[in-house]
């Protein structure tokens, strides 16, 4: 029995029916425990004061914003090569979750930056990359919506995702070239992993796990939704033909 069998929509729905409750439970457990731990039971940083608590939201969401993109890239490739509908729909399902993560990373970063850098926004390469990512997610989602035919939309968005990934790397390099940036300097005490004390580290790990689980859960739910929407569209179309 190969992995590809899960590319069958029925099989996919049946399987996720079983595992989804566990994912929900894991997500809620990790997030609640991690965030409460981080917010209430960690000490302040000696330089940044209590703002360091934002890290439990900022870093996990930043990680997931990028990982969502990678997942969409892989799913798009699978669609283009093997043409499994579930794969294309999973890519579609991941985009809104990814954009939410990007938004959290940007907003928490901005809130963090206000006291530390003295202003909410600076044209730092890392921040700019995320703004770029945000724009790209929007273009991707709008392109999905602008095309009526599902297969056409899947093809177009997959091509966009592939080409966009190449340009994402290019842009990242371009931003570094263009502006040396604030992000690194301002966070010296945290940026080197060796400097992250265990008191910060464990709740952070838990939060990262929580965000990963949250992402997976939401993508599964949304993929199921897209599958159903796709089937509904097919049924309605068929109905009309008779």
């Amino acid at each position: 029995m190969s992995l590809w069998e899960y590319a069958n929509p029925r099989k996919f729905i049946a399987t996720t029916d079983v595992v989804l409750p566990w994912f929900w439970a894991g997500t809620i457990a990790c997030l609640v425990v991690g965030l409460i731990w981080g917010f209430f039971f960690t000490p302040d940083d000696f330089r940044q004061g209590s703002t360091v608590k934002i890290i439990y939201l900022h870093v996990p969401s930043a990680l997931m914003a990028i990982n969502a993109w990678l997942m969409m890239l892989v799913a798009s490739l699978i669609w283009l090569i093997r043409r499994h509908h579930v794969s294309a729909l999973a890519a579609k399902a991941a985009a809104p979750v990814g954009i939410a993560m990007t938004l959290i990373a940007l907003l928490t970063g901005a809130i963090w930056g206000a006291p530390i850098w003295g202003k909410p926004w600076a044209w730092d390469p890392r921040l700019t990359s995320f703004l770029w990512l945000f724009l790209f997610y929007i273009g991707y989602i709008v392109l999905w919506q602008a095309l009526d035919d599902m297969d056409t939309a899947a093809d177009m968005t997959s091509i966009l995702c592939l080409v966009g990934s190449v340009f994402a790397l290019l842009s990242r390099y371009a931003f570094l070239f263009w502006n040396s940036g604030l992000h690194q300097e301002a966070s010296l005490s945290l940026d080197k992993e060796t400097n992250i004390a265990d008191v910060f580290y464990y709740p952070l790990l838990l939060c990262i796990a929580g965000f990963v689980l949250l992402f997976i859960t939401l993508v599964l739910v949304r993929t199921r939704m897209e599958i159903r929407a796709r089937r509904m569209k097919a049924l309605i179309a068929r109905e009309r033909m008779v």
């Binding site: 602008a146 177009m156 966009l160 842009s171 070239f177 263009w178």
Partner: protein, 218 residues
């Protein structure tokens, strides 16, 4: 292939302007900028190179949606798709025609516009060089965006949305060449990147764009 090129150029000229129009748009952006930000040279001078690059990009952008839209609407694209010419070739030629009617005139005219915006004299050569290297990438990437949105009515704005993030690296390196040139810093890396982006887009994007068109015609 040459047939498509000559036809596109002829169409561009017939429908009032062709080469002239993108130039005009460029001129207008350049003229409006002092109205918007104020006419003082100490404000204009440092941003001149950037504004010129921005204007070139926008002039490019404004003309993108017509690369395929007209051919799609009147059915020519269907017919071209069944003609004995690879779609990759069609896409490349279309991008070339677009560059000839926008990028090339902009590049040639840029020094004159630099004058209007108080661009430091030392930067004129660099501006032309960077535009010459960079605008082919703009046309090529734009053609890809136009191919993605072929068949979407009112796709103009969506097209800009898709294409602009892809324009970012070209814009950064292009403007950087001019800025670093003015400040006397080394410009070789930025120039190399610009050339690399252009070469890469010309080599790879035709395949992506051709695939997109085939999908869009269904």
């Amino acid at each position: 292939m040459i047939a498509i090129l000559t036809r596109d150029l002829r169409l561009a000229i017939r429908s009032g302007g062709g080469f002239g129009l993108s130039l005009m748009f460029f001129l207008i952006v350049v003229v409006l900028t002092p109205f918007a930000v104020g006419p003082e040279p100490q404000i204009l001078s440092p941003i001149a190179g950037g504004i010129l690059w921005l204007g070139a990009m926008l002039a490019c952008l404004l003309s993108l949606d017509r690369i395929f839209a007209l051919d799609y609407e009147d059915g020519s694209l269907d017919l071209l798709a069944t003609a004995p010419i690879p779609m990759e070739g069609i896409v490349t030629v279309k991008a070339l025609a677009h560059w000839l009617t926008t990028g090339l005139p902009l590049t040639l005219a840029a020094p004159a516009f630099g004058l209007l915006l108080d661009l430091p004299f030392s930067a004129f050569g660099l501006l032309t060089l960077s535009l010459a290297l960079g605008t082919p990438a703009l046309s090529m990437i734009g053609t890809f965006g136009a191919a993605l949105t072929v068949g979407i009515k009112r796709g103009g704005l969506l097209l800009s949305l898709l294409v602009l993030p892809l324009y970012v690296p070209t814009l950064i390196f292009g403007a950087e060449v001019v800025r670093r040139g003015i400040e006397g810093l080394s410009i070789a890396p930025a120039l190399m990147m610009l050339a690399g982006i252009t070469a890469g887009s010309i080599a790879l994007i035709p395949f992506a764009a051709a695939a997109a068109i085939r999908v869009g015609l269904r």
